[in-house]
Symmetry: C2
Subunit: 77 residues, 2 copies
């Protein structure tokens, strides 16, 4: 199985969701991207359809927006 | 690991998310609850904090609301 990608921005909701996702899917199956640490990944996330964070992009390209987090516009500042 | 519970209401977003979740977590690790088929589970879901569907309740009790789905009020009709 190829990896999922979990995009987040370091908010408490994101970090809590990250821990859950990693525990459920397994750390070896998911790449974690923190926009606060690497803003250069934002365009890539937008391109695959990420509208808010935290979001999980599955290996088949589906975007699961998790919780009612921050909009990606807010993250871009 | 104890099971997660995935609550949904049969909408297209729900079904798509269900398939992704089952694929990622593994069918043996998640119970699927369809409110359209078993409305008696709605109070239990509300009690653990499910505000909209689809939602995944993790073994440690966190509720991950997925996508921008239907509000649980709408499901109750």
């Amino acid at each position: 199985m190829s990896k999922s990608i979990f995009y987040h921005a370091g908010c408490p909701v994101c970090v809590s969701a990250e821990q859950d996702i990693v525990e459920l899917i397994g750390t070896e199956h998911v790449e974690i991207v923190h926009f606060g640490e690497d803003a250069s990944r934002i365009p890539e996330a937008e391109q695959v359809g990420v509208k808010s964070v935290p979001a999980l992009v599955t290996p088949n390209g589906n975007v699961l927006h998790i919780n009612f987090g921050a909009s990606i516009e807010a993250v871009k500042g």
